[in-house]
Symmetry: none
Subunit: 258 residues, 2 copies
DNA sequence: CATATTGACGTTAAATTCACATCGCTATAT
DNA sequence: ATATAGCGATGTGAATTTAACGTCAATATG
């Protein structure tokens, strides 16, 4: 288990060093079976470190080191993946999808690689580097002032850019939920997200259950504004019923053992 | 897929070396069918590396292939560095600097890391990843539709973003120069660059001498619109004098042996 | 008109996935 | 202490999918 993680890290470093490597080279270099290499790079690709081609793997275009070592940090990855997979139900090929700068939305982006063709819009740098140079995905980056804390572009430039666009569906997250209100910590981020809400026909909110009964500094929006609020198991039945009575389109996604 | 990539690279090198090659020669030289050669060069032409004639292929006449990211030749690296170093004379700490998506401007960005504090604006993905998370550099990314050929964001979203900003100095490049006119291959790129011109107080153009006496599809601007036009040694004296008489603020930068 | 180019289709070779077997380790019960 | 059940990582070979290329007919070009 630890050994596999280390092996993956070795593979990632090797690929990052060479930029692009053939699968057979990896097989030879690491002296394991082709199947094992596939399993490793599948996982690395899912984490957004590498990209799988046919017969070869490449590194993600930008943010190399960062993403190379980010895959260790993976907080709540299983829950994020679960939510992300469920979010795919709201996306169809050919649509315009807007993603915010949350790590949950980034998880959705990795899955969107299989829902082509698609136009994707985001202000997240991590998501941007996932989606550049993907065939059959038109990618539009929302510019703005770079903010390292969020690894995203925000500010008035970003808000104005959003206002010029329209998406079929917005997939986003929030910092905290209390009652039927979603909160965000940073006021500038709130403005960007609100602009995204206004620019999207359908709006999906992804929040793991741990975000409930907590507050953050700024009000983002009411849960009833969303066409679906997806959360993970662990929300009390009473609370779930209360939300549904208040008109929230709640959907509790069961964690799928995979 | 990887094999085809390598084959395409071979073809590109072969054509670049010979300048112009007949399709049948490629068929014979690589020992594959005519259809396959066509498919390869179609893709290379789409990437802007080659140009298709009837029965033959040539290299893209305007040096566009330099910016096709995979084929960005490192031959002119020294000249770009020379120009970039000279461009630093026009930047002071504390200013707002705008950079276009040229590889020359990207070279400037690497040097800007030592001129802090600074605010930098660009639409180049390569430059963006250079400047994120640098202390004392405020970075603003110009969003827009991602274009893999230039590895940059362009389009109307980008133009509008530029229009919201003002920079002390713009540092940019062009595809080709004829007389006192600077050209760019892609019309959408032209619009972004023109917006950048309008948004900057001072404008600096960096072009190596090989760009002179060549044309590209679209007019960018007149050389007299720039506050300085920097180029490398190799421009004829007569031509230099002619440009200066026409009012171009020309500066020929000597290559520093380093 | 001759030749170049494109498009549709089939073939082949290769890569990838899938189902299943094995191995090694750990935890737990006897 | 030993046995053994469980889990994860790995390997194997067949089945499936995908990419690359060639052929030929239809179309476009000079």
């Amino acid at each position: 288990m630890i050994k596999a993680d280390e092996r993956r890290e070795e593979i990632a470093e090797y690929v990052i060093k060479l930029g692009q490597v053939r699968i057979d080279d990896l097989v030879e270099h690491f002296g394991v079976s082709r199947m094992t290499i596939h399993r490793h790079i599948d996982r690395l690709a899912q984490q957004g470190v590498l990209r799988k081609l046919h017969g070869a793997v490449t590194v993600q275009p930008s943010g190399l080191y960062e993403s190379a070592f980010r895959y260790r940090v993976t907080v709540n990855r299983a829950e994020k993946d679960t939510l992300a997979r469920a979010a795919l139900d709201y996306v169809e090929a050919g649509q315009v999808v807007m993603l915010d700068d949350s790590s949950t939305a980034n998880a959705v982006a990795t899955l969107l690689l299989d829902v082509k063709p698609l136009t994707v819009i985001t202000n997240s740098v991590a998501t941007a580097s996932l989606l550049t140079n993907v065939d059959d995905i038109d990618f539009i980056c929302l510019g703005g002032k770079y903010h390292g804390t969020y690894n995203a572009y925000i500010g008035i430039v970003c808000e104005n850019a959003v206002a010029q666009l329209r998406a079929n569906v917005l997939i986003c997250s929030a910092s905290a939920i209390t009652g039927t209100t979603a909160f965000i910590q940073d006021p500038n981020v709130v403005r960007v997200k609100q602009a995204m809400m206004a620019a999207s026909v359908k709006r999906i909110l992804l929040v793991d259950h741990a975000k409930f009964d907590r507050i953050a500094l700024h009000v983002f929006d009411d849960l009833t504004s969303f066409d679906a609020v997806l959360t993970t198991e662990g929300l009390g039945d009473a609370q779930a019923q209360h939300l549904e009575r208040a008109g929230v389109k709640l959907r509790i996604v069961k964690t799928t053992a995979q």
